[in-house]
């Protein structure tokens, strides 16, 4: 497996792979978004207590779930960046963080909108909501720390450490509704995995919810891959393959110039070594 994975440490190999993968995520993603919209908004039955307002669940739950999921993904990239010093993993942190931050923001935003009619308040400082707010700050902290250093790789290292330490917040968010008294309801879907209990939701609502969860995952992956490719191109912009991807074709004279430059660098390097 390692032999198979190893070429992807090279940025252009990752770029070629993700460029090929994007349409395979984007097309099913867009289709599933449309399906979940129509199903969730028009065909799923209304809730017996909350009426039609519960339809916010079809954006609230997927965004909250993937806000946490992408955080774990970002932390894994942080481990790879720290242990194996792979640049592409560092760039992946930079690609995931904004998407995760937006997912967290959406979950807080739709939660506030849902809270107003159901709880009678936009916001309460209870365990679940506060922990999710901390998740948003962790994402923003990772982004800020990444660019806070003169040397980008030092920033990436610091951001990796913050990302890894911040993982402690993920189980706190998930179990907050069990550990503390809170206004927020208990988990509906993931309890099937984390507590081995049946989902506490009717199948006519569960299915569109699962579709919307998958749809948001695919769309978010596309956004992450687009950002990752941009970051790779930014880092590699002086290299011919990146220039070719950006629509610049080096003619023979420019190529000769590039080769001459390379030789110069090699010579200099040799001289320094001596």
């Amino acid at each position: 497996m390692w032999r198979w994975l190893h070429p992807y440490a090279k940025p252009e190999a990752t770029f070629a792979l993700t460029q090929k993968l994007i349409p395979w995520f984007a097309l099913p993603g867009i289709i599933l978004v449309l399906v979940s919209l129509v199903w969730g908004l028009a065909f799923a039955p209304p809730d017996y207590q909350q009426g039609e307002s519960y339809r916010i669940i079809f954006v609230h739950v997927p965004s909250a779930m993937w806000a946490m999921g992408f955080y774990v993904g970002m932390a894994i990239m942080g481990v790879i960046a720290l242990v194996w010093q792979i640049r592409t993993a560092e760039l992946a942190i930079l690609a995931i963080a904004p998407v995760g931050a937006v997912l967290t923001f959406i979950s807080l935003f739709t939660g506030a909108i849902w809270g107003q009619p159901m709880w009678g308040t936009w916001w309460v400082w209870d365990a679940r909501l506060t922990a999710q707010l901390i998740l948003l700050f962790l994402y923003l902290g990772v982004m800020a720390l990444y660019v806070a250093f003169e040397d980008e790789r030092a920033g990436a290292k610091a951001a990796s450490i913050l990302a890894i330490v911040g993982v402690i917040n993920i189980p706190i968010i998930h179990y907050s509704v069990y550990w503390w008294n809170t206004l927020h309801q208990k988990s509906t879907v993931t309890r099937a995995i984390t507590r081995l209990e049946a989902p506490s939701i009717a199948p006519e609502m569960l299915w569109p919810l699962l579709v919307s969860i998958l749809a948001m995952l695919l769309v978010s992956i596309v956004l992450v891959l687009m950002r990752l490719n941009n970051e790779i191109l930014r880092r590699e912009i002086h290299r011919p393959w990146a220039l070719a991807e950006l629509g610049i074709t080096l003619d023979s004279s420019a190529k000769a110039h590039n080769d001459a430059e390379k030789k110069n660098v090699e010579k200099k390097g040799g001289a320094d070594a001596v």
Binding site: L37, L41, A42, F43, A44, P45, P46, G51, E52, S53, R55, I56, V59, H60, S63, P98, V99, V102, F105, I106, F109, T110, I113, W114, Q116, P117, V219, L223, M226, R227, N229, N230, L233, R234, I237, H238, A242, L243, L246, G247, I248, L250, S253, A254, H257, N258
Partner: protein, 69 residues
């Protein structure tokens, strides 16, 4: 279909403003993220063409210098 008319669909049993604003906000966020990525790629392309032009200028200057000598 849970709704009898478009009117009822828009109103969402009195919760229309909450349901629609949360869906609209979500789509706006994702749209902005996607647009930002596309805009960033365009900016990178511009920078690359600038770089290529600079390489060309350097080459031309060097050739001119060689000819003078």
């Amino acid at each position: 279909m849970q709704f009898d008319s478009w009117q009822a669909f828009i109103q969402m049993g009195g919760y229309g403003i909450y349901v629609w604003s949360s869906f609209a906000g979500t789509f706006l966020c994702f749209g902005l993220l996607a647009l930002e990525s596309i805009w960033r790629r365009k900016k990178l392309a511009k920078e690359a063409s600038k770089q290529a032009a600079r390489a060309q200028r350097i080459l031309r200057a060097r050739a001119a210098k060689k000819n003078r000598i």
